[in-house]
């Protein structure tokens, strides 16, 4: 039977090779633009601001300050890539960040500064990861919409923080051994930047170079289909929320160790920029996927855009507008891209 059948099929369609090659070349050109438009925009912005603010914008002190200011957002956003790639929203990260800021500051205050720094860090990270676990269990076990779960839990985490802090800034007895971590340098580079680089490399490795990363993306693109194909989607979702909570908590530690106090309302400001950067990032380098290089470029575009405009004396409200606009722009770009892919077929 196999012999009689093997001749049964013919290629469904063949296209003249020359025309095919031509179209292919056209598509590769579009492909390149699709992937690199973001980085190009970043370069263009740097050039424009250098010309617009000569001697102020393109200085090592200004740029270092810009980068250093983005480290907390970067840590949150790198963790956020996991749930986003796995197809779920985690908007509790602001709450988790606040909770971690308060947890770390409060453990020192309660022990009059005698709490060993590594232990305080451990406790804080455990709190963040547990917060992620709570989200995950609600989403996976009870099949509740992740958006709703994390909207609610984020608010609860914020509430707990305010309760613990009693609505006050927690600032007593935070040891210098701890603040040295946030303010110190390694080979002349501020520690938070070193942390971001290391974390980015780890996240990049996991997402791009391990089967786990592939399964995370597969879960995001089609949870039920992936599950039926053998992907342990439940465990992947749990992992995604735990990593996201862990990273938000890490960002909280960066905050407390840099500022030296715990404020019970810090988290919210990092939510929007991390989403904006992640979505902006998903339109470049590897369009259609949340990816680390894209995220970093997205962050840079947001940070440099705002910094450059501020140097021009643009008013304060521009920041929110710029970030919100970037988020919507990113989603619009993704939509347009999907439409063009469909028309291609």
């Amino acid at each position: 039977m196999s012999e009689s059948l093997s001749s049964a099929t013919q290629p469904a369609e063949e296209v003249a090779p020359a025309r095919h090659a031509e179209r292919r070349a056209g598509r590769i050109g579009l492909d390149l633009l699709d992937r690199w438009a973001g980085p190009l925009l970043l370069v263009a912005m740097i050039v424009a601001f250098t010309i617009a603010s000569p001697g102020v914008f393109l200085t090592s002190s200004n740029l270092l300050a810009v980068v250093n200011n983005q480290t907390i957002t970067a840590v949150v956003a790198l963790g956020l890539l996991f749930p986003l790639a796995a197809g779920v929203f985690d908007i509790s990260i602001g709450g988790v960040l606040t909770l971690s800021v308060i947890t770390s500051a409060w453990t020192f205050q309660q022990t009059a500064g005698s709490m060993p720094v590594p232990l305080a860090i451990l406790i804080t990270l455990a709190v963040g990861a547990s917060a992620g676990l709570v989200n995950a269990l609600l989403v996976v076990r009870l099949s509740i919409d992740p958006f709703i779960v994390t909207l609610g839990s984020g608010s609860i985490f914020l509430g707990i923080s305010q309760l613990v802090a009693n609505g006050q800034v927690v600032s007593r007895d935070i040891p210098t051994a701890f603040t040295d971590l946030g303010r110190g340098e390694l080979f002349g580079i501020p520690n938070p930047i070193v942390l971001v680089v290391v974390l980015a490399l780890i996240v990049f490795y996991v997402l791009e170079m391990t089967p786990l990363g592939r399964m995370i993306y597969a879960t995001g693109f089609g949870r039920e289909q992936s599950r039926l194909a053998g992907v342990p989607t439940h465990r992947i979702l749990v992992l995604a929320f735990v990593v996201s909570g862990f990273c938000a908590s890490l960002a909280g530690l960066v905050y407390t160790s840099r500022i030296g106090t715990g404020q019970p309302d810090v988290g919210a400001q990092y939510l929007l920029p991390s989403y904006a950067a992640a979505f902006l990032g998903s339109t470049m380098i590897k369009p259609g996927r949340f990816n680390v290089p894209g995220l970093l470029v997205g962050l840079a575009i947001l940070a440099i855009g705002i910094n450059g405009l501020q140097l021009q004396g643009i008013p304060f409200w521009v920041i929110s507008t710029f970030q919100g606009g970037a988020l919507i722009l990113a989603v619009v770009l993704t939509k347009l891209r999907k439409l063009s892919v469909r028309a291609d077929g």
């Binding site: 039977m1 009689s4 469904a12 369609e13 179209r23 791009e208 194909a229």
Partner: protein, 507 residues
Amino acid sequence: MTTDDAAALELHGIVKTFPGQRALDGVDFTVARGEIHALLGHNGSGKSTLIKVLSGFHQPDDGRCSVAGSRLRFGDGVAVSRAGVRIIHQDIGLVDELSVLENLRLGVGTYRAGTLGAIRWRGERSAARARLDDLGLGHLDPDAEVAGLSAVERTEVAVARAIDDPDAIRVLVLDEASAALPEEQVQHLFRLVRTLAARGVGVVYVTHRLEEVIDLADRVTVLRDGEVVLQESVSALTREDLARVIAGSEVAAVHATDRAAGRTAGAAVLTLDDVVAGRELAGASLTLREGEVLGVAGLAGSGVHEVVRLLQGRAPLRGGTVAVAGAPVARPGVRALRRLGVAVLPGERDQKRITGMTVAENITIADLSPYWRGGRFRHGEERAEAVALVERYRIRPPDVRRPIELLSGGNAQKAYVARLLRTAPRVLVLEEPTHGVDVGGTAEILRLLVEAARNEGTAVLLCSSDTDDLAATCDRVLVLRDGVVADELTDKEITRERIVELCYAAG
């Protein structure tokens, strides 16, 4: 200008090109009033594109169209609808949570509103009942929730919805409307189609089932590579003629294999014993052996679909035992069954397609471990294997980096079969693996299944409503009725006619 003798639908010189692909190359297509015109072709032959040109979804590069003698502008869905053209797609677009009545009112026309804009439900209900009766669909209850309807009833609702004003309808296009229907229910659909044709509606009937063409259609048009290769009256044609023209080459008739003859049956790898599960299975027992292809046939509601869901791990087991390789599986869930080497190809597309990922990624996702060595994912090796599989399964176009959603249904189906066979499963369960797949692709898929059974010793459970597939490939065929295995066919007993006969047999 509308004249009585004008054709219901006339498409002339339609040309449509996509990047890297010439989908339609000067297609002429005419449907007379009251004619049932079958439209056939390979996956990727241009059928779907032609329908999409008609519906206004695609703007053709060239050509013209008229409906009942009036020229129609392309790319305007509203004008198409106003001209009396109705198109029913394979996924018929009903809203499960709404009632039949609400679905009938969806999109077409509006509710007649009373004072304060409130809907007059009583009037709506009697109007719906009248419309259903008029189409010979009196058995449908306007208040029934669509989720609870059988496949054919859903199709009937979709058709009834399309026929909102029987006098204004000139052309009805059924785009693989029968693909999800078991064989015995197709007859209900045929009755409805004939009723409409008798009223002068021109029916375009797109299908892959050649028997249906012979049974139902007056004329047939076959497309290949975007061109019309055959257009004539059906009465002069046989199934084999059509298969040959579609494939564009001599298709050897799919015929029985050396069937179990002389081959000793292997060890039992999957046993269902007195299984009660899902809504339908009521004490079903079967044994699947290593290296055999076991067919499962049955009407809708007989339990075939529940067998698939059970082995997917999605239907709760309420009684009896499921055993793999002799060991009972306590809780047959999705992960447990996968781990035991039970791989399932479900019938529904949205349980298979991971949209947004490439063909390669869709194929390899079931097992990534071969590429993970020394702490690094070997992308090159993955790609090489995907390329080899695309070559072997003749997936077109042969581009593993293409997003899966850009493949035609049949080619995507081959990719999903590749996904499963690549993991060398102990048990391979397939539900309607050749639905929507063209003749050549069907032969290809069936050949791969038989090869897997013969060469790798895979135990194959083929659940299909396509009796040709069953007759061509199976060593044994089980027939399910009322949730139990009612009959078993072996060797020479396995014929298309016998399977159908047993499916219908009473009690």
